[in-house]
Amino acid sequence: MKKKALLAGTIALLSIVLMACQDKDNAEVSSNGGETTKVKQTLHVAALESAYGKDMWSKIIDEYQTENPDVKVELTADKNLEDVISPNMKAGNYPDVILLATGRKLALTENLIKDKALEDITDVLDKNVYGEDVTIKDKLIPGFTDTLATNPFNDGKTYLAPMFYSPTGLFYNANLLKEKGWEVPTTWDEMWALGDKAKADGISLFTYPTTGYFDAFVYSLLLEVGGPDFYNKAMSYEDGIWETPEATKMFEIIGKLGKYTEPTTVANANDKDFKKNQQLILDNKALFMPNGTWIVGEMADAPRADGFEWGMTALPAIETGGDRYAFTFFEQIWVPSAAKNKDAAKDFLTFVYSDKASSIFAEAGAVQPIKGNSEKLTGDNKLFYSIYDNGAKAGMGGFAATDAVEGVSIADTLFRSIDSIVSGDKTVKEWQKNVEKVSDQLRPALK
């Protein structure tokens, strides 16, 4: 009898413990999911913590909550945002607003685009900026909402709003070039000539952090060899586009660049060791690398050669007087279709473009594509953002959205193969053929 009582007691205890766990989980889920509570409306904002840091987001949230006392904002900011939010998203608990760019390794944004799981925010652009008398569209620099990066289905509808933009280009040590009396090359021919000169001094012409950094590089090069029309055709997988003479030129330039690349680059071109490649520039062991303006902050604490000074240039032109491009990379902010507080989310979107918000972002070095913003910059950033004033053209947007094709990835084939080109494991011809093949496979899957 005693035993039975004990048994019953144990079972009761066990079930209470289990129930207790369950309750706690439920409570957590609802707060994460941003369900409307009795007192306040909860808005869940998820933002990637990039080189700009987490602080600016906390400040933005504080500011927004002071302006809107009845909205409670929950912030998730993390360097690996995908790992933090996607398990909850799979369980149906979506953040209301997400700042996460395309082109990330885990491609969460692309995944949702492929699933058409983003909210159409075209109407938000026509709304007034929070507390101001101007629409978002009028406040933004023209062109930023007409790209495949904001309108992935190419149907005139905007699904992703442009946030922090940053010109990308070739970064170098301006002081080293000054000391050696070398000019920054303006054409690829000058580039090769400089490469030979530098080689004689024991310096390699080129390095890259990882092949992922070639996206902006390849896009700019495509624009240079063929112009915007050609570029858009390539981005929408037009048949045979990668076998045209223009594309061949692009492949050949990168193939030749591979021969001028610092020999240890490939061994360190992974997410763990890429900073060693960036260090090559700081140590005067290589001249140029493709990168973005965040590099200054990223390498701020790294040791460097005496008198080191960051310099940035657009890609050299194909021929004298030809167009030079510096691709504009920008992060996007978007609302998932499955978000529970879409209206509150859209209101929040109008707030992030306000003068108040943009000055908080600017303090952290994050520049939004708002008219007149670049004039307020100081220091290195002033130099970087003035690249377009010095004749370089801006390229924007990336590949058009397609349905998922199993085992096929244009990024892997087009960019990742560059490791093999540099190490000599693949020829330029093979690479070109593979890219065209993948383009063929993706074409029928276009949205």
């Binding site: 035993k3 039975k4 048994l7 144990t10 079972i11 066990l14 998203m89 799979k90 390794k105 885990l106 491609a107 692309e110 995944n111 949702l112 492929k114 699933d115 058409k116 799981a117 990882t210 092949t211 020999p263 240890t264 680059t265 490939v266 061994a267 360190n268 071109a269 992974n270 997410d271 763990k272 060791d273 060693k276 998922a404 094709v405 199993e406 085992g407 096929v408 990835s409 892997d412 990742r416 193969s417 560059i418 490791d419 093999s420 190490s423 494991d425 693949k426």
Partner: protein, 296 residues
């Protein structure tokens, strides 16, 4: 009668939590993997399309998958062979011979096993570094610069560099396992054999090896499972599958397809292949290593 009912209830209560957890976290997900491998699904939407065995058909022609499969098999073979030889060698030395500081070595060899795989990735990418790395500098000290390599940059050797790290972390664990079963072999066997004139090598092959054979068989299955799992973790942390996919193993390829290429169903099809592969491999190895169990 009352006693047996009570006993039954007791057993029921004791096993239910474990069975529930097993069903919930092992059996259901496994069935789910098999089911999802028949669908085309991006991973987030509610739009799951039944495609039958189509995912497996694509898989058959996917050269990247074949390459990751080759890499995995290579790792399983190389890591198992080298680790098993080293582990048995060290454990024989430490149990049979009177090595000075034997306990110290036992601890030292076991340490890598306690380290997290991310730490191991850090240690080995420092060792393999082309300019400041231990390995290349070690070679230059002995004036054999011709052997210096881009350990993680050369597509032909990168996968062997990965296996080096895996062997390093596995040796201690298996060594301890073999040592424990060697310690159980009665000393009198060795005494008797030495009286009959058996040397150390004969003793090893005629006494030690046959008597720990069952243990070795068990560890072979461990080798398969742990190499498959750990190679994924190490590759993710160390090379990300690069350069250009040359160190991709099948779990990392599955992860890539399922989570970064919006092909969740396809990823699950790869999961099914891995599941069947590791089961079949373990079964085959279990069969061909079957010997009469020696009792002593």
């Amino acid at each position: 009668m009352k006693k047996t009912t009570e006993k039954r209830i007791f057993i029921f209560v004791c096993t239910t939590p474990a069975l529930l957890l097993l069903t919930l976290f092992m059996i259901v997900p496994t069935i789910e993997v098999f089911r999802m491998s028949l669908y085309k699904w991006g991973g987030f939407s509610n739009n799951q399309v039944f495609v039958g065995l189509n995912n497996f058909k694509i898989l058959w022609n996917d050269m990247n998958f074949i390459r990751s499969l080759q890499n995995s098999i290579l790792l399983i073979v190389v890591v198992t062979l080298i680790t098993i030889v080293l582990a048995i060698l060290f454990s024989t030395l430490l149990t049979r011979e009177n090595v000075k500081g034997g306990n110290f070595f036992r601890v030292i060899f076991y340490i890598p096993n306690i380290l997290s795989i991310v730490v191991i990735a850090g240690i080995f990418s420092a060792i393999y570094d082309p300019t400041s790395g231990l390995l290349n500098n070690f070679l230059s000290v002995f004036n054999i610069e011709s052997l210096q390599k881009m350990w993680l940059g050369d597509q032909k050797i990168a996968i062997y560099s990965i296996s080096g790290a895996l062997v390093w972390q596995a040796v201690g664990y298996y060594m301890v396992m073999y040592m424990s079963s060697m310690a159980n072999i009665p000393e009198s066997f060795y005494e008797a054999s030495s009286l009959e004139g058996a040397g150390r090598i004969t003793q090893f092959f005629s006494i030690t090896l046959p008597l720990i054979w069952n243990n070795i068989r068990t560890t072979l299955t461990f080798f398969i499972v742990s190499t498959i799992n750990l190679s994924f973790l190490l590759v993710q942390a160390m090379t990300g599958g690069g350069p250009d996919g040359s160190t991709e193993v099948f779990l990392s390829y599955m992860y890539k397809q399922a989570y970064t290429n919006s092909s969740y169903g396809y990823g699950m099809a790869i999961g099914v292949v891995i599941f069947l592969f590791s089961f079949a491999l373990s079964a085959i190895i279990n069969q061909i290593t079957k010997r009469e169990v020696l009792e002593y």
